[in-house]
């Protein structure tokens, strides 16, 4: 029973954080709140028995992604412009319709924590029962991750590598150095604001503050 109350408390905190993200216009606060959201969800993962997931979420969500978003803010701007009313008006029915469809989808789902749900009776008993004899390591999550589903994890590692290469191609200085040399030869000075002159002479360099 205390577990239920902890879950309810964590959920209320999560909902409050999400609402605060909706309301806040200061992007620095938004990024920090998203870190708080990740940390709270890590706590919820612990109460749902997913300790490995909680560990990852705490390290990744509250650590790395907050740092990356702050880095983006330093390179862009920290204020969100005013939101158009028509956009908000249109968003509401879309969201309500999606929510209704999703809730309809859950109506024939098995109950929370039910031991005879299909998900619990398919292959999980094999993993839990045979890991001791087939793999011989105590952490079943690691056994499934690295051995039973090794192909899967190889693919995920390749995806992470590819995303990293993509980031380097988009914003790394590696390819840029050569281009800047070319520009210097032509005698043009690069605009520190980056844009503006290249986009047909409009001067909206602080357009997002408006």
């Amino acid at each position: 029973m205390p577990e239920t109350w902890i879950n309810i408390f964590l959920f209320v905190m999560l909902a409050a954080t999400a609402l605060a993200v909706v309301r806040t216009r200061h992007l620095f606060a938004v990024v920090m709140l998203s870190g708080v959201f990740s940390l709270l969800s890590a706590l919820l993962f612990v109460t749902l028995d997913a300790v490995d997931v909680a560990f990852t979420e705490a390290a990744v969500g509250a650590g790395i992604s907050t740092v990356l978003m702050l880095g983006t803010l330093a390179l862009t701007s920290r204020r969100e412009g005013p939101v158009s009313a028509s956009r908000q008006l249109w968003a509401l029915p879309i969201v309500v319709l999606t929510a209704a469809a999703l809730v309809y989808g859950t109506l024939d789902m098995p109950g929370f924590g039910s031991p005879d749900a299909p998900a619990q009776r398919h292959i999980a008993p094999h993993y839990l029962g045979e890991t001791a004899s087939e793999i011989g390591i105590p952490n079943v999550v690691t056994a499934v991750l690295a051995s039973y589903r090794g192909y899967d994890t190889l693919g995920e590692t390749a995806v992470i590598f590819t995303a990293g290469v993509g980031v380097l191609l988009i914003i790394s200085e590696l390819g840029r150095r050569r281009r800047r040399d070319d520009e210097d030869e032509e005698g043009s000075v690069r605009n520190p604001e980056g844009a503006g002159d290249r986009i047909g002479g409009n001067s909206r360099s602080d357009g997002d503050i408006r």
Partner: protein
């Protein structure tokens, strides 16, 4: 007649859908690209929580066996499979978030704004300018 047991059994799904929709609302209703990415993150974490809650077994514990690998008969473990899938998805998620943020940085450099409406206005201005210059040859794209 309200079926309370049904509501208690399914409330977890509905609560996570509520969080998901909060993230979705941010994505749809806000024009600022950084805020959209934060909204997507909230959406993503809510999906993770939905998955993990499917793997939970009442009275269960974390799927880590005793060090001597001798499982006691009475102990129930939660389903490890959703944990594995979500564990990798979190790290892949931050890698793709980094990709989105890199695109935002480049957009800011090219357009001078990270607001969706502002970018659209600049794009339309460019197309209109091209139409004036090239006239009917471009087929009046604007």
């Amino acid at each position: 007649m309200i079926d309370w047991q049904f509501i208690i059994d399914h409330a977890n799904y509905w609560l996570f859908i509520l969080l998901m929709m909060t993230g979705f609302y941010i994505v749809v209703s806000r024009g600022n690209l950084v805020k959209k990415v934060v909204g997507l993150n909230i959406f993503q974490v809510s999906v993770f929580m939905l998955y993990i809650s499917i793997g939970k077994v009442s009275g269960g514990t974390a799927p880590i066996l005793p060090v001597d690998l001798e499982t006691e008969p009475g102990v129930v473990y939660s389903n490890p499979l959703p944990h594995v899938l979500i564990l990798t998805a979190i790290v892949v998620g931050v890698a793709t978030t980094a990709l989105a943020l890199a695109l935002i940085v480049r957009i800011r450099e090219e357009y001078g704004t990270i607001d969706e409406d502002g970018i659209l206005a600049i794009e339309q201005a460019i197309v209109r300018g091209e139409n004036v210059r090239h006239g009917d040859a471009m087929g009046d794209r604007a």
